[in-house]
């Protein structure tokens, strides 16, 4: 049986209590994007500053409110993607989503997880791996992926505007 300590790892609680990169950036030049999780009422607000020349996510600030998993995940994501090239951000996003859904698809018997494993190949998730315990609590997966889905949406909006 999955225990609370699987879900609420110490590093997650640390990011929840002391979120990194909290704040706002002036819009424009930064791009603002919001995401909502109707289940918990979680709200994630991201301010993204992408250098169009270098395609680097120069800066990111986070805001919003919600459960510990959504807010900690947002903080951990901001630390993981800040200063990274967009293609690397995309790779991290795919890897994180794969991390969140491998167990799910295994449980449902739809996949042995090998296709998702490919997304994780060669990607260093670091602290983000602490969120893996969330997959044992299926209703909370959306809390953990909200920040990443919002980031993906924001970067798509920037690309479309650019």
């Amino acid at each position: 049986m999955a225990g609370l300590e699987d879900l609420y790892r110490e590093i997650i609680l640390d990011h929840y209590r002391s979120p990194r990169n909290r704040g706002e950036l002036p819009v424009p030049p930064a791009h603002k994007v919001e995401g909502f999780n109707p289940l918990c009422g979680d709200e994630v607000v991201l301010f993204l500053d992408v250098d169009p020349a270098t395609q680097v996510l120069d800066d990111i600030r986070i805001s919003g409110q919600g459960c510990s998993i959504s807010q900690a995940s947002t903080s951990m994501m901001s630390a993981a993607v800040k200063g990274k090239k967009l293609e690397e951000v995309a790779r991290l996003t795919r890897a994180f989503k794969a991390l969140m859904s491998i167990h799910e698809s295994k449980l449902e018997g739809e996949s042995d997880g090998s296709d998702l494993q490919a997304e994780l190949e060669g990607v260093r998730l670091g602290d983000l791996e602490a969120l893996q315990g969330v997959v044992k609590f299926p209703v909370r997966i959306k809390c953990a992926t909200l920040a990443w889905n919002t980031l993906q949406q924001g970067l798509e909006e920037i690309a479309a505007d650019g």
């Binding site: 609420y8 009422g41 459960c67």
Partner: protein, 411 residues
């Protein structure tokens, strides 16, 4: 001393025989849906095993028995809310469908652009969205009764709101705040402006003796699943002459008297609103739930819940004087047993997750009342809600589990 022998009542409900994570099940989410006593399960089982057939058209014995059982349930539900006649009860899927039925049938036949509907800030989405859909389609204006600082309806501007209104659609008991709204004076005010009154009573009927005639309402919606009955069936009560004048809602079998290639003649009330094969066994179960509640006595249920709600509010505020805020009236004479609260620094969803470890079921989120949550300025609350099978020991487990959650998330 409780008005009810809860230890005995708990034994009526098979689910309380199970454990969750090795702990006794402490079910504090009856405002979302209640548990079912064995008599209700047995009644449905008996129907499926011994006399199940489609209702109303069969001429063989078991079809007649099924029809009789379903119509018997209609009489029981009608009596339970003091309807004048059984035909004033329309069986629907749930209170949400009952409200949608009124929005599609009565409102679309009677409301024109510029007409107004009065709602309140404490409504469940089920009593908001059907009217917003109608408003978007018909250019009907929605007006909102605000709330006071002590979580009650602010009626100071009621007459102005009702001026030009055709309908007042109002909750009898808030699923978030627990606040009970005294329907009779609201109905008097609405009728003085020639507006009809729809009551969302799905939190009220399960907990308080209900008299639709004393309320002087025009439509009353409620669900079986919140009152010890099964999911999948609910009721719309409406005055007979209103139902007679209303066009049908869904078209299909059962709701017709005759169908020709060039049209149809609708069936009599209430069957004209009951298209398609209904939830037969579940309706029988609804009747059994009403029998169960009547045998206990709704006044005893209400007394018990008032005592237990007072105990819970006191226990929560005594134990967490700084960290916990209750959203709802303190006076248990004007409220039901849904107790919403916010814990400083801990999201409702995290609280619910930690409480689950101790077998405690509470709800966390916006409780399908987002306009109310915005008014309160909170994204989500935790909600413990009580029913006849809860007692002080359940509240004690809740309080200890909350203390554990507070410690777990302590900064």
């Amino acid at each position: 001393m409780s008005a009810l022998d809860v230890a005995r009542l708990k034994r009526d409900f098979p689910i309380f025989g199970r454990e969750v994570h090795g702990k006794r099940l402490v079910f504090l989410d009856s405002a979302a849906s209640s548990q079912k006593p064995a008599v209700v399960l047995d009644a449905m089982d008996d129907c499926y095993r011994n006399y199940y057939a489609n209702v109303h058209r069969g001429v063989y014995t078991i079809a007649e028995e099924a029809t009789a059982a379903m119509e018997d349930a209609r009489r029981k539900v009608a009596r339970f809310v003091n309807a004048r006649r059984a035909e004033e009860i329309v069986f629907v899927r749930n209170a949400t469908e009952a409200i949608n039925l009124v929005a599609h049938s009565w409102a679309r036949a009677n409301l024109r652009e510029g007409d107004a509907i009065v709602l309140s800030h404490m409504e469940h989405h089920a009593n908001i969205v059907p009217w917003q859909m109608l408003a978007a389609e018909r250019g009907v204006e929605l007006r909102w009764i605000p709330l006071t600082d002590d979580f009650r309806l602010d009626l100071t501007g009621l007459d102005a709101l009702l001026d030009g209104a055709r309908l007042l659609a109002i909750s009898a008991m808030s699923n978030v705040l627990g606040t009970m709204n005294d329907i009779r004076p609201l109905a008097n005010a609405a009728h003085a402006h020639d507006a009809l009154v729809l009551v969302d009573a799905c939190q009220f009927v399960p907990h308080v003796a209900t008299d639709v005639r004393a309320m002087d309402a025009d439509f009353v919606a409620f669900s079986a699943h919140k009152m010890c009955g099964p999911s999948g069936v609910g009721a719309l009560w409406a005055r007979h002459e209103l139902l007679e004048a209303m066009p049908p809602f869904l078209g299909g079998g059962e709701m017709i008297r005759d169908v020709r290639l060039d049209g149809f003649t609708p069936n009599d009330v209430p069957w004209k609103f009951e298209a398609g094969t209904p939830a037969i066994a579940e309706t029988v179960g609804f009747g059994a739930a009403v029998d169960y509640l009547e045998a206990i006595g709704m006044d005893a249920v209400r007394d018990h819940e008032m005592q237990l709600t007072r105990y819970a509010i006191d226990a929560l505020t005594d134990r967490f004087p700084e960290s916990l805020t209750i959203y709802g009236p303190r006076d248990v004479s004007i409220r039901g047993g849904a107790v919403s609260f916010l814990f400083e620094g801990i999201h409702a969803h995290d609280i619910s997750q930690v409480l689950d470890e101790d077998g405690v079921c509470i709800r966390a989120g916006h409780h399908c009342a987002k306009p109310l949550m915005r008014h309160l300025g909170v994204p989500a609350t935790s909600r413990a809600s009580f029913y006849l099978y809860n007692d002080e020991s359940d509240v004690d487990v809740l309080v200890e589990a909350l203390a554990k959650a507070e410690k777990f998330f302590a900064i």
